[in-house]
Symmetry: D2
Subunit: 141 residues, 4 copies
Amino acid sequence: MAESAGVSCPLPSEQDNVEQAKGNPALDSSTFTPPVPLASPSITIEFCDRCRWLHRATWVSTELFLTFPPPALKAITIIPLNSEETGGRFRVWLNLEDSPPQLMWDRKIEGGFPELKGLKQRIRDHVQPGKSLGHSDKKSE
Amino acid sequence: MAESAGVSCPLPSEQDNVEQAKGNPALDSSTFTPPVPLASPSITIEFCDRCRWLHRATWVSTELFLTFPPPALKAITIIPLNSEETGGRFRVWLNLEDSPPQLMWDRKIEGGFPELKGLKQRIRDHVQPGKSLGHSDKKSE
Amino acid sequence: MAESAGVSCPLPSEQDNVEQAKGNPALDSSTFTPPVPLASPSITIEFCDRCRWLHRATWVSTELFLTFPPPALKAITIIPLNSEETGGRFRVWLNLEDSPPQLMWDRKIEGGFPELKGLKQRIRDHVQPGKSLGHSDKKSE
Amino acid sequence: MAESAGVSCPLPSEQDNVEQAKGNPALDSSTFTPPVPLASPSITIEFCDRCRWLHRATWVSTELFLTFPPPALKAITIIPLNSEETGGRFRVWLNLEDSPPQLMWDRKIEGGFPELKGLKQRIRDHVQPGKSLGHSDKKSE
């Protein structure tokens, strides 16, 4: 999973002259399409920034991407919050097409942070119901 | 910036009885509002997952949040891509209200990855034009 | 905590000519002193690489550095293990001068991974006994 | 590379009764051997903490471990520095048995931070001379 030198993914300067020519759409930003606002399936993590949970949220994001590589998960959005009424929040949402976002974890309801195994099981049950996460894994009933 | 024990952000179980009573909206997920799909200002990072740039993208995300804490940046979305036509992509978009996403960095156009200083300057010029990033910083003209 | 542009930490090329002159010890690697092998206080994290706990170990390392900036902690070493007999290991050691390394956490003894708060309290009790980690913090008796 | 549920790496509580019995060395910390101070091969990263390069150092560490999994690299140590005379420092050392630590990168000598590809090539030439890092890779002469 380390950075590769990019066999199939060269920079234009490393490619042949044709691609470097003017009019190369790879180098013309007016041809670029911005990503869609809310890909499906995707995850949104909200957290209380006053509690300094950025690195925890980022770590959870890393682990989810490694367990559910695209297209199982197409995007993860991290949202730091710093108002009074969002104090102590740590919520994980799953966004699926044709339905409103579904809550996968709320720190106040659950009484703490997600252990990764449990969070992954909940997400797996929605996005890859057949996938095994390991020997101690169980599907939700 | 380490995790705090959360002075202002207790778990309900650590709070008074009133809050723990039934009907506490903090514990009733039907009262929760999902986050908006595309907050403004926010950042979207697209990258080629075949090139294994997840950790680079995550690191850039961490640095941008630390330089532009909310509400300067309200969200960062990371999008791994693994098709042939997105090979070698590393793009950073800035999402601002009332305008289409603006391209802050494209690896092919720029000929490489962003040095953090330059990327932060471009974003700063849009979201916090008056903010200094340090002594060797210069605003774009 | 974001990267700074480095007011007090310029590159030699950004400094005056005297420093750039030949014989500048900042640019002569034969004058560099390698770091000491085992600084004190420092932390060592051993983990089972077969269990893929690199990112968990790295996250713990980040949080410990942010809670105990130098000189409270002078170094953190991460050691991935992949033999049969180290399967499932996640151990955190504290290295203090004039005593053998002290075990702060062992996943098998404790029955799971450290919650950050508890791990920080144990380390704090050794390296900064007077330091408060927040309102729900308690010193070990 | 995501966390696994640990097929071969169970907690003692998930194992058979014999192992859980008293006298189980897996649960008796007096039988634990602390890690050696300076494994070989290993990496040490020193950086200026005033410049806030913790997350950059951590990211480099992550990438090196993923490119050179154990036993190619057995340990990485991160050392934050905050004195006047270490201002602006970003150094990467390689520790090999039977020789003093060798400097792989110094920000002042090189005039900037390591691009990962170049740093990996230098380390590779010492620890895994035959290993290919990709198509645009070249061994040092």
